[in-house]
Each structure stands twice: as structure tokens, then as C-alpha cells.
């Protein structure tokens, strides 16, 4: 198991380097530079001086190596948008609302989705199943900004129960979290339903019944655990979404999260910020898959045994 994790860590390091090179090249392949904007025209001399100070006049591979050297020391540089700040400082401030929003959204949406999926699978082809499936399909097909608008309309405008936007106080969190939870809930409901139905149709379930086990024990001890194996692979990538938040939900509810920076860093050619955001996501994907592989192995003896007889 330890060897397995170690091997994964090395492959993660390789992935990380390859991805960072690709992102760096793509980022610089976009025409234009950070000081080409029309809002503040600069003379050529001033621009050249600025570029030189930020190291942007050097060849690309030197720039890349310089940046990555900084990353190794947890120095992600200074955002061009707000030169008085550091990227670490800026991200750590903006990250908190995104993390709360995404984390709460998944932590609420996923278990509810599992329950909904279970209810549907255990009551297959009854009104419970149809209702749950309709609900799940709606959650997946209606765009999240439409759901957000409807929530604002119903709870903020008509009923006037909750504030329409902002972040500061906890009651402002409720609507964006509900909007955010819709996708994990719907995804989970659908996956759980099909995974459970697959398991319920496998011959060993009949054997368990023939052994005289109660239906409760069969479902909770055997069927759920077997169904969890495919679910784990869906679960973890979803957690990355939690950490990066949702651009749409944050925009609809004016949450001061990370979302806005994804757009502005590209628009303004804010290379250090863009790079930092992308590396962060890459790292989170890598860790999420590592984690999901570990959980997978714990659930499934065929992988855990590692081929030993």
C-alpha cells in the first residue's frame, strides 16, 4: 500500500510538471500582454521598462523556470492587477467564501443525492422512483444560473425570507449553497440509483437472501458497499469543484470568491495569478485522484490484495 501511494506521488509530480509547462505555453500563446490595455495607454519606453522589471523580456523557458523556482519556495509572485498584494494573500482571502460555498454544497448535496438514489433504487418503478428521477434530471438539466435566479425570485423577492445576495452574514450563505448543491445532489442521485440497481441484480444478492439474511442487512452491509465502489470515482472529482467554487453561483449571488479571478486573470493577462490558479486546480485534481484510488483500494479487496494469492 505504501509503495502504491509512493508510486502515485511520483506520477503526480510528473503530471504536475507536464501540466504546468502546457499551461505556461498556452497562457503566453494568447496574443497581447499585461500592459496592452487601452484604459491606461503607456509609452513604449515605459512599457519596456515595466516588462523588464517583471522579467517578461526574457525568453519563455527562463520565465518558466524562474516562476517554478518561486513556486518551489511557495512564492507565487505578485498579481499584476493589484501590485500591493501577494498572490498567496489574495487567494487565501478569496478562497474562504468559495470553500464554504463549495464544501457545504457538496456535503449537503452528496448525502442527500445518495439517499434519493437509494430510495429510487429500492422502490424501483414506483412513484417514488419516478419522482426522484424527475428531480435528479431537472437538477442536471436546468443551468445553475437559472436555478439561482428562481431561488432569488422565490425566497428573496416574493417571500422576502432571505437576502438576495452578498456574503458577510451566515443567512446570506443559504441561497447560494442551495443553488450550488443542486448538481452534486442530482449527479449522486442518478449514480446511486444505477449502481444500486446493478448490484441488486447480481447473483450474490440472491445467495444472501437464500442464506436467510434480513433485507436490511443485505442492503446496508452488502449492496451499499458494493455500490460505493463506482460512486467513489464520481465523488472526488466533484470535491475539486468545491474548492474552486462555481463562477456562476458566485456571480449570481455576488459572492466574493475565487470565481471572478478566473475570468479577470485571463482577460488582463495577469500571468502569475493565472498560473497560480491553474496549478492549484491541477494539484487538487492530482490529490483527489490519489485519494480516490486509496479509498477505492480500501473498498475493493481485488485491488487491495495487489495480486498476491
Amino acid at each position: 500500500m505504501i509503495m502504491f501511494i509512493l508510486r502515485r506521488l511520483i506520477s503526480i509530480a510528473v503530471t504536475f510538471i507536464v501540466v504546468s509547462i502546457i499551461i505556461f505555453m498556452m497562457m503566453h500563446a494568447i496574443p497581447g500582454g499585461p500592459f496592452d490595455g487601452n484604459d491606461m495607454p503607456l509609452s513604449d519606453a515605459v512599457r519596456a521598462k515595466l516588462m523588464a522589471r517583471l522579467g517578461l523580456d526574457q525568453p519563455l523557458h527562463v520565465q518558466y523556470l524562474n516562476y517554478m523556482w518561486g513556486v518551489l519556495h511557495f512564492d507565487f509572485g505578485v498579481p499584476y492587477q493589484s501590485p500591493g498584494d501577494t498572490i498567496i494573500g489574495l487567494l487565501s482571502r478569496a478562497w474562504v467564501p468559495s470553500l464554504v460555498l463549495g464544501g457545504a454544497g457538496v456535503l449537503i448535496g452528496a448525502p442527500l443525492g445518495v439517499l434519493l438514489g437509494m430510495a429510487a433504487a429500492l422502490n424501483r418503478n414506483t412513484w417514488i422512483d419516478y419522482l426522484a428521477s424527475t428531480f435528479a434530471t431537472l437538477g442536471l438539466t436546468i443551468p445553475v444560473f437559472v436555478i439561482s435566479l428562481m431561488l432569488i425570485l422565490v425566497f428573496a423577492v416574493w417571500l422576502n425570507w432571505l437576502p438576495a445576495s452578498g456574503w458577510g452574514k451566515p443567512e446570506r450563505w443559504i441561497l447560494p449553497i442551495i443553488a450550488y448543491a443542486a448538481i452534486p445532489l442530482a449527479t449522486y442521485a442518478r449514480y446511486t440509483r444505477s449502481a444500486m440497481l446493478d448490484t441488486l441484480n447480481r447473483p450474490f444478492v440472491t445467495v444472501l437472501r437464500a442464506k436467510g439474511l434480513s433485507e436490511r442487512r443485505i442492503i446496508f452491509q452488502h449492496v451499499l458497499r458494493n455500490s460505493a465502489i463506482p460512486l467513489v470515482t464520481v465523488f472526488l472529482p466533484m470535491f475539486i469543484g468545491t474548492a474552486t467554487g462555481s463562477i456562476f453561483v458566485e456571480a449570481m449571488f455576488r459572492v466574493p470568491g475565487l470565481g471572478a479571478y478566473f475570468v479577470s486573470s485571463i482577460e488582463k493577462r495577469d500571468y502569475p495569478l493565472e498560473m497560480a490558479l491553474m496549478l492549484m486546480i491541477t494539484m487538487m485534481y492530482c490529490l483527489a485522484y490519489l485519494f480516490s484510488d486509496i479509498v477505492y483500494a480500501l473498498l475493493n479487496p481485488r485491488i487491495r490484495a495487489g495480486g498476491k494469492p
Binding site: 509503495m3 440472491t206 442464506k211 439474511l213
Partner: protein, 588 residues
Amino acid sequence: MKLVEINGLTVDFSQYGGSVAAVRGVSFHLNEGESLGIVGESGSGKSVTCMALLRLLGANARIGADSMILDGVNVLDADAEGLAQLRGRSAAMIFQDPMTAFDPVFSIGHQIVETIRVHRKTSKREAWAEAEQLLLRVEIKNAKDVLHYYPHQLSGGMLQRAMIAMALSCRPKVLIADEPTTALDVTIQAQILQLIKKVQAEFGMALIMITHDLGVIAETVDRVLVMYGGEVMEEGLVQDIFDAPQHAYTKTLLASLKAGATKPDSAAEADETAVPALELRGLSKTYRVHQGQGFSRKYADFRAVRTVDLVLPRNKIVGLVGESGSGKTTTGMMALRLTEPSGGQILVDGSDISTLEPTALKSFRRRMQVIFQDSYSALDPMMTLAQIVAEPLHIHGITPGKQQTETALDWLEKVGLDRNFGQRYPHELSGGQRQRVAIARALILGPSVLVADEPTSALDVTVKAQIIGLLKQLQREMGLSMLFISHDLGTVRTLTDTVVVMYRGRVVEQAPTAQIFENPQHPYTRALLDAIPASNPRDKRLRTFLSATDIEAATPRYTVIQTGMAPNATPQLVSIAPNHLVEAVVTT
């Protein structure tokens, strides 16, 4: 006392657009300690009847009966708790495919202990100790280790033993075995059947043996129920059923068991000097298996097939037999270059095709065709039968487009299907009909070599006899040379001219069919023949089984004088009679 008593049982399955009657008015009883066999083909309702007895059928099944009593309890009235009491304690069940019958994420021991603790109040420690005892009683030698194994770490035979141990754990009064050996090799089947009889006697249980195989019936039961189309056709003592069957269907079943016990001599005598249709020279297959963990670059070679020589003479049928894992299918697939060999040569009509490029190989593909075991996955579900059968013509661009369909329909007729089947899709057909389509597709190109990989082992006995008859007839008409891969020795005996026995990737014996069956020399061949179920209850007997080490130890020995070969301590194929080769040690 009557343990099971069923009167007028009916089971209907409601389906999209109506309901299907699977069991129509079945009545039977079972006394304590008695062995009852239920025989019939797939769809006869034999499994459904027993599943209904334990109420194991899905929600779409409607069960009705005048009465259905198990161990003094009316099953139809039992509530969830009452059912849980009956299941496992009054009646325990073992199933067809042991590979899928265990929950893959729990260890064997865990699953046996779970069963014990659901029915009896025992401590965990006692239950584990008892589980170990149970595994020992089903003749698993390393019971302590096996308790901690997961299902995927055990072979089918071992899993079926563990399944029996689990069934025994609550001392059931009746053991229901639903095709318990169908998924197993013939040698393992014989061991499992003997084990079931042994534990039945030891635990004083009654037995219901559900099977399609009359040989299994002859070996294991006292009384037989013959089912067909959801009804009981005939009931009687096993000896009476075999000696004096009353019902026409029973007679057909028995006839298919004895089918072709006498084999017509093949008319065309093989010309010894003629170039064989197919010849394999030193063909081998080695798979690289990653060993060790982590960064180690250790690989082991798994030798699936080690240097096989085989000659398929023109217009003859050669049988290739052996247990699963013996390398017989790999050899057949390599002969067609559907699996790339690791070494050796393949000669088709005398020319070596083992290194040909795909384009050069294509013209040879016309001469070599194949039929697989699972006819369902071998036919494209999106194509009509006419398209399926005509596709080879299209690929090789032989007949002009319009005639292709005509030729395909002609072939459907030749394999005994109606011309109007051309517009149908594979899922509309029965297993036997689909295998006929597969045969038509293989033969439409007029090949000279046909490799048939277990073409009948997924079929019912009566259908099997028909397909074998068809293959035999077409082989004679077309002058085919056929490599018939099978573990079913009964079929091999009636169909083939020569038998090649494979064991652990090697050919251990090879001889004309009659010779193999009358005078087997290699211990493995003998074990294989000994394991064939009796064709009449009179012939059933206790068997002794050889382990792999026993077989190695009993390798035949011949002297230099007998063989004319140099002495050699490593076993090699030696010729002991005309056309009879056996793996043996040559001594001085």
C-alpha cells in the same frame, strides 16, 4: 415425514405487455433424507420452482399454489421474519456459478460467519472456529488460510466447496443444488458431486438436485421429476426413468445422452502422404506477468501453451480436450492467428502463415473459420441475420452485392433455419438457432479448416445433439477439416477421429478416438475419462481423485527398447503405438 410438499404451484412473470407462465401446476413432495432430481432444459421451470419454494423470486413474479409447505410451514403465508427463519435453516441453496455467488468485497470466512450468526446466538470466536471446521468438512485442506481469502482468490471448484460449507452452516434439513456443477470442469464436477453426496449422508439432509444433465441425475438421486415447459412430464424412481421412460420427452432426453454411441466410420480414409489442412509446429504462447510490488521490474513468464505440435489431416475431425486453463482455446486461437503465438509455426495447406502481414494473411482467412461458445456475443446485435451471414462475402468481395443476400439466405436454409429468418435480429433467436447462424457465417466462404471452440457447451442437451448432427453432416458434405475444442468427452467420443489431450499447456496424449477411450495411457487422460458421469444409475461408483502432484508422479515410464528413443528423465512425447503418442519418461 414429508419435508416439502407442493400442490398446484404456478408462477407467472409479469412483463412489458403481458405475463408469461413459467410454472403451470407443479406438484411434488420430498421426504426427509431423500434425494430428488429435477431435470429439464432451460426454460422448463425447474429453477423457478425451487426459487418459489424459498420465495426468492423478484417482485415481478406472481406465485400461486393450493399449498406449499416447507418443514411444516406454509411458505406462501410466511412474513419476512418467518422466511428468514426458513431460508438457510430449513432449506439451504447452492447455485450454478460459484464465481458470482459470493459477495466480492468480504472474505469467505466473514460470509460463513455471518450466516452462522444470523441464525444462531454464538460468539464471534466460536463462529470463526466453526467456519474453519465446516471448510475442513468440505475437504478444503488449508481451511485456516481460506477463511481469510476473498472470493476472487479462489478457483471455481474451491468456491463451490466453500459455498457448500456455507450452506451447511445452519444444519439445513434440505439442500437445494441448482446446477451446482454446470460452470465447472468435468474432473471438478465429479469431485463436487461426490462431496455433495458425502455431506448429505453425514448431515442427514434431503437433497433437491436441479440439473439439465442426466449424468448428474444418474450419479446423485433416488427419484426424478422430468420437467418441460413449466409442467412435470414424468416422475419416478431414477432406475425406472432410465430403464423404462414413459413420456416422449424423457425418451428424447435419454436418446440425446446416448446419441451416436456408435460412430459411423468416416468414409474417406486419410491419405498419409497428403499435405494436412492445418499443422502446428512447436507453437507456444507465453504471457508476461508483472510480479512483485512497487518499482520492481520483475516479470515472470506464464507459459499458457508450451510447444504444441498438432496435425489436422484433410477431411478429419480432431478433438482438443482438457480442463479450463489447459491452453486448448489459446492453441485454437493461435492456429487462426487470432492470438499471436510467441513461437512456432502454423502451416495451412503446407504454407507457413505464422509471420504473414495482415494483407497477405487475408486470403488465408478465407480458408480458416471459427465458431465460438457464446453465440450471443459472437453475433452483432445491430445486424439482421442476412447481413451477419453475408458479411464474410462482403469482406472478401467474392460474390456481387445482390447475390450476397441470396447466398446468405441459402445458407440459413442449409443450417436448418427458414429463409424468412433473414430479416430477424440475433436476440429473437434461441441459443441453438443462434449457433446455427454462427455456423452458416463460418461456412459461407467454403473454408477448409474450421475451429469450433466449445460450440455446444452453452446449449441444452437436446439442442446440443441437433447442432452436433448438423456439424457432422456439413463436415462430411464439404470435406471440412475441423479442430473441435471441448471439455465434453461424450461429444468428443461421438464426433472426432483423433483426440489430443492437453494438460497445463502441454499435449500429454494423442491417439485415435477409440484408442483414447479404450486404452488411455496418461494418468490425466484416465482421470478425465473416470470423471465422466455415469449414463445409467446402475453404473455410479465411488471415485478416487488424483491431485496435480499425483498426476505428475504417475507419469508413464517406457524403456528404450519399447520406444527406440534415448533415455530421458524429463517427460516427453513418445510413440507407443501407431498414431498413439503419450508424454512419458524413457528409462534404460
